[in-house]
Symmetry: C2
Subunit: 200 residues, 2 copies
DNA sequence: TCGTGTGAACGAATTCACAGCG
DNA sequence: CGCTGTGAATTCGTTCACACGA
C-alpha cells in the first residue's frame, strides 16, 4: 500500500487484505498502541513503521547457516531474507568437500569454528539445514555458541533451553496438511461430512 | 515408537512426546474415533494407521513442481516428501536454459505443457517455487490445469477458488517471528514486560 | 487398577456494538 | 459523518474430573 502511494487504510481495508475481520484488526493493533485516527483509519507509513518496530525489524539480524547442502544453498540464495533485514553472514558444514567452498563473498567453514565465528561476527540466529539425525547436535552447538534464536528446517523436533527462541519448519507437514485439506474439500463437495475448515 | 517396538502408548505418553496436555490428546483423537483401550492406552501401530488415514496419507500423491531455480531444486532433492507419500513427477519452468534439463529421471518442461501433463500424469498438487511476481499467474494455471491443492513458497499471498486447497509457506515470516520471539525473551529476562509467550 | 472418553466448568479469543473523537 | 478503541456479549477451545470398560 505504501508503494502504491496509499496514505491511509481502515481496519476494514486491512481486514480485506489479510483475510481476518475488521474488529480483529482493531483489537490486535490496539493491543500495541493507538495507531489509528477516528474517522480516518491508520496512516499507512506510520503503521508499517510501528509494526516493524513491534516485530523487531528495526535493525539487521546476523544469521548463521548450518548445512551447505541443497536446502542450505536454496536458503542462502533466497533474496527476501536480506530484504527483510536478515543477513546470512556465515555458513558451516562438516563435509570436507563443502568446507572451503566460496559462496558469494564468504567461505563455508567447519562447524568447529561456529563458536569463534559467532563471537567474532556477533551472530544472532542459527538456521539448521542438515539431515534430521544431526539436527539436535547442531542445535546444541548453536546454543552453546550463544545464538539467541534457532530456525530448524530439519525433519525432526528439537529441544533448546527456554532462553533461546525456536521455530521449526517442517516441509512434509505442509504437504500433509494440504492432503488433509483436499480430502476435506472432497468430502464437502459430496456433502458426505461436516467439519471442514478453511485453510490459507 | 513403532520402530522402537513400543506396542501401546497412553495419552500422557503422546502428550509428553508432542508438547501438549494429555486431555488435549484424548479430546482430539476421540473427535475422529475411539482408538484407545481403557486401562491400556492406544495401540501404536493401529493409531499410526488411523492417523495416516485421517490425514489422507493412505495413498501416494502426485506433485508438480513449478520453478526450477534454487528453491525448486532444493525441494526436488528433499527426500522426506517421497517418504511421506508425495512424489514429484513433473517439473516446469519458463526459462529456456532450464527447460530440457534432466533432473534425475525426468525432464524440466515449459509451463505451457502443464495442462497436458496434468491430465497425462494425473497430478494432484502443484508446488509454486517461482519469484513473487509470477506466483499468482502460476497459481491460476495450476488451477486451470485441474490441480486440487497448491503449496506456495513464493513471498506473496495468492488467491485460488475455494474448491482448491491452498497453503503458503513464507520463509521470511519464520525469521520475523523468531526476531519477535527473541525480543520477547529479552524483555522477559530484564523483567521489562509481560506478554511473552512460548514458541515452538 | 489404569487410562480412555466425555460432559461440565472454565478460560481464552473473537465478535458485537457503540461512545467518542477527528 | 466515518472509523477507531474498547467494554460487554458471545463463541470457541482447553482443562477438569470422573464414570466406566478393559
Amino acid at each position: 500500500m505504501e508503494t502504491e502511494g496509499q496514505r491511509t487504510v481502515s481496519s476494514q481495508g486491512l481486514a480485506h487484505a489479510s483475510g481476518v475481520t475488521s474488529a480483529q484488526v482493531r483489537k490486535d493493533l490496539s493491543y500495541f498502541g493507538n495507531f489509528g485516527k477516528r474517522g480516518l483509519g491508520y496512516a499507512v507509513a506510520r503503521l508499517r513503521k510501528e509494526i516493524r518496530l513491534i516485530l523487531g525489524l528495526n535493525r539487521r539480524w546476523r544469521v548463521a547457516l548450518v548445512g551447505a547442502g541443497n536446502m542450505g544453498s536454496a536458503l542462502f540464495a533466497y533474496k527476501e531474507f536480506r530484504r527483510q533485514g536478515f543477513d546470512i553472514v556465515a555458513v558451516f558444514d562438516v563435509s570436507a568437500d563443502r568446507i572451503g567452498q566460496k559462496w558469494r563473498d564468504l567461505t563455508v567453514r567447519h562447524i568447529d569454528e561456529l563458536r569463534a565465528e559467532t563471537e567474532r561476527l556477533g551472530l544472532d540466529i542459527g538456521v539448521i539445514a542438515v539431515p534430521a539425525r544431526s539436527a539436535q547436535g547442531v542445535a546444541d552447538r548453536l546454543v552453546a555458541a550463544g545464538m539467541r534464536g534457532v530456525l530448524n528446517f530439519a525433519h525432526r523436533r528439537i529441544q533448546v533451553p527456554p532462553s533461546v527462541a525456536l521455530r521449526t519448519v517442517n516441509l512434509s507437514i505442509e504437504l500433509e496438511s494440504l492432503a488433509f485439506a483436499i480430502k476435506a474439500l472432497g468430502a464437502k463437495a459430496t456433502g458426505a461430512s461436516r467439519r471442514t475448515r478453511a485453510t490459507a
